[in-house]
């Protein structure tokens, strides 16, 4: 399938989904249960909230976390920094497939403990191929194995994001620094975005997350790692609660091989710019026209 026809197929797909999605969007109203508080249910879309309203919501969410998890947390609304557009690159020549990044994500982002959820999946792939669909995530032997390479996959924060387009209620959108976010209080859990993502990067919260109080990461943001309710979509936000304050993402800091490079692509002196300019970077499934902000490369 060539570039245009595939893109057209995507558009057509989007259109048909739209109609069905509308019906689906109404369904949760009839199945509405008191697990959602009345306040949460009546809340307006994140983008329409004024600072006072948002403040009230953040305090309410903090109270709910204290009540449900016994953890006192701080939930902030961290906005993009002007002049910053994030980019992330990963050196496949040094990644050893140890899943330290996935583990760091699990802890940083307050994921459900029993399912050991994470926004990062590490694929083990035969050397000489780069077929995402043939990669295995279920390896348990010592790594790296000489005949394999390892490819961590997380949200690519696409500039032309299929997941954003299919959302029937605009609960997910792209922000000024390139990060695609989800308003967990607006999401209706229809999972169209999950199906639309060619990188399998979105997760559905099947259950209310279980996290022991002492393991809850208290540094939280509304659009990123606050504990998500059951029945909504979630995804990697490049740790915006850290990165919008200038810090490195948790997965990068945890990497024992230094395979990950993160930064502001608008800054000509940044490490990420050096990689983009000096390494032969590539993106996954480029023919889909998604324009990812996550890049891979091999040394040499």
């Amino acid at each position: 399938m060539d570039d245009t026809s595939r893109r057209d197929a995507l558009k057509v797909g989007g259109a048909t989904l739209g109609a069905a999605a509308f019906a689906r969007a109404l369904a949760p109203l009839t199945e509405w249960e008191p697990t959602t508080s009345v306040d949460a249910f009546l809340q307006r879309h994140y983008k329409e909230l004024d600072p006072a309203e948002l403040g009230t919501i953040l305090r309410r969410l903090e109270d709910e976390t204290l009540e449900d998890y016994g953890a006192s947390v701080s939930i902030e609304d961290v906005r993009p920094t002007p002049g910053v557009r994030f980019g992330y690159a990963l050196n496949l020549s040094v990644c050893i497939g140890c899943r330290r990044c996935a583990e760091a994500c699990h802890q940083e982002n307050n994921h459900d403990r029993p399912s050991h959820q994470s926004y990062i999946r590490v694929l083990e792939i035969d050397k000489g191929s780069i077929d995402l669909e043939k990669g295995r995530t279920d390896y348990d032997h010592a790594v790296p194995r000489g005949d394999k390479f390892y490819m961590p996959v997380q949200c690519h924060q696409c500039d032309n994001a299929p997941c954003v387009k299919v959302c029937p209620v605009e609960a997910t959108w792209k922000e000024a620094d390139g990060i695609v976010v989800v308003d967990y209080n607006w999401c209706i859990g229809c999972r169209y975005c999950e199906a639309a993502c060619p990188y399998h990067a979105r997760r559905f919260n099947w259950e209310k997350p279980e996290i022991p109080a002492e393991e809850v990461n208290p540094d939280q943001a509304y659009l990123s790692n606050r504990v998500r309710p059951a029945g909504v979509m979630e995804k990697c936000t490049f740790c915006l609660h850290r990165t919008r304050k200038g810090k490195l993402p948790a997965c990068l800091e945890a990497c024992p091989t230094g395979a990950r490079v993160f930064g502001n692509v608008l800054d000509p002196d940044s490490e990420i710019r050096w990689v983009l300019e000096n390494k032969r970077v590539f993106v996954l499934k480029e023919d889909l026209g998604t324009r990812p902000r996550f890049f891979y490369y091999f040394d040499g």
Binding site: Y46, K47, R79, P80, T81, P82, R85, A89, S93, C98, R99, A102, S115, H116, R121, V122, K127, R136, T137, D138, Y139, A142, V143, P144, F149, D159, V164, K174, E175, A176, T243, K245, G246, K247, L248, E253, C255, P256, G258, R260, V261, F262, N264, V265, L266, E271, W274, V275, L276, E277, K279, R280, V281, F282, V283, L284, D287, F295, F298, G300
Partner: protein
């Protein structure tokens, strides 16, 4: 590692990554960060450098180290001063290309390293030693794309800590040892997973 054929070319991807227009500007942005003095970037100093572990341990179970200078070099304690031919470091196994000991150690002063041009280095200057033979890798490290870091990507807002080569590569056997992977997620409905 042999690279598979890349699926796209850097230049195109790069231009796309740096373009400032995007589909939905979303809500307005937060406060700007003032340009100013950058916080420092420090390189982690491995505490093992210049000290050799003994079989003795302290109350915490940490091996007691002895400084190289105790036995080597002009200031060596005469009671301990190493005499040629005396067997001592019996555990040293070298698996680093086909290098000889004296490619790195100064035969005239065992407490020091040296470069091919004869320049003498402290054990603490190990990175310069590595850089001599691994120039391209060192350049990559200097550009922040090898060896990783901790702290802030934006050094206007906080400091950064870089890893030293020997944090990850033992000088005598620099290849990375295999590790056991961390547990994976148990996702519903993905192949290769339950």
């Amino acid at each position: 590692m042999s690279p598979p054929p890349p699926t796209s070319l850097g230049a195109i991807v790069f231009l796309a990554a740096c373009s400032t227009e995007f589909a939905d500007p979303g809500r307005e942005v937060g406060p700007a960060v003032a340009d100013g003095a950058a916080y420092p970037t420090e390189v982690h100093t491995p505490t093992t450098l210049g000290v050799v572990d003994t079989p003795l341990v302290d109350v915490n179970g940490t091996p007691i180290g002895v400084a190289c200078a105790t036995c080597h070099g002009p200031d060596a304690d005469s009671a301990w001063a190493a005499r040629p031919g005396e067997p001592f470091h019996t555990g040293t196994e070298l698996d680093h290309g086909d290098l000889a000991c004296d490619a790195c150690h100064d035969p005239a002063d065992r407490g020091r390293l040296h470069l091919a041009d004869g320049r003498s280095l402290e054990l603490g200057d190990t990175m310069q030693l590595c850089a001599q033979c691994h120039g391209p890798k060192f350049t990559t490290w200097q550009n922040g794309a090898h060896g990783g870091m901790n702290g802030y990507w934006d050094t206007r807002r906080g400091p950064r800590l870089r890893n030293h080569c020997v944090d990850c590569h033992a000088p005598h056997a620099p290849q990375i040892a295999p590790v056991t992977p961390m547990p994976r997620a148990h996702d519903r409905g993905l192949h290769g997973e339950e």
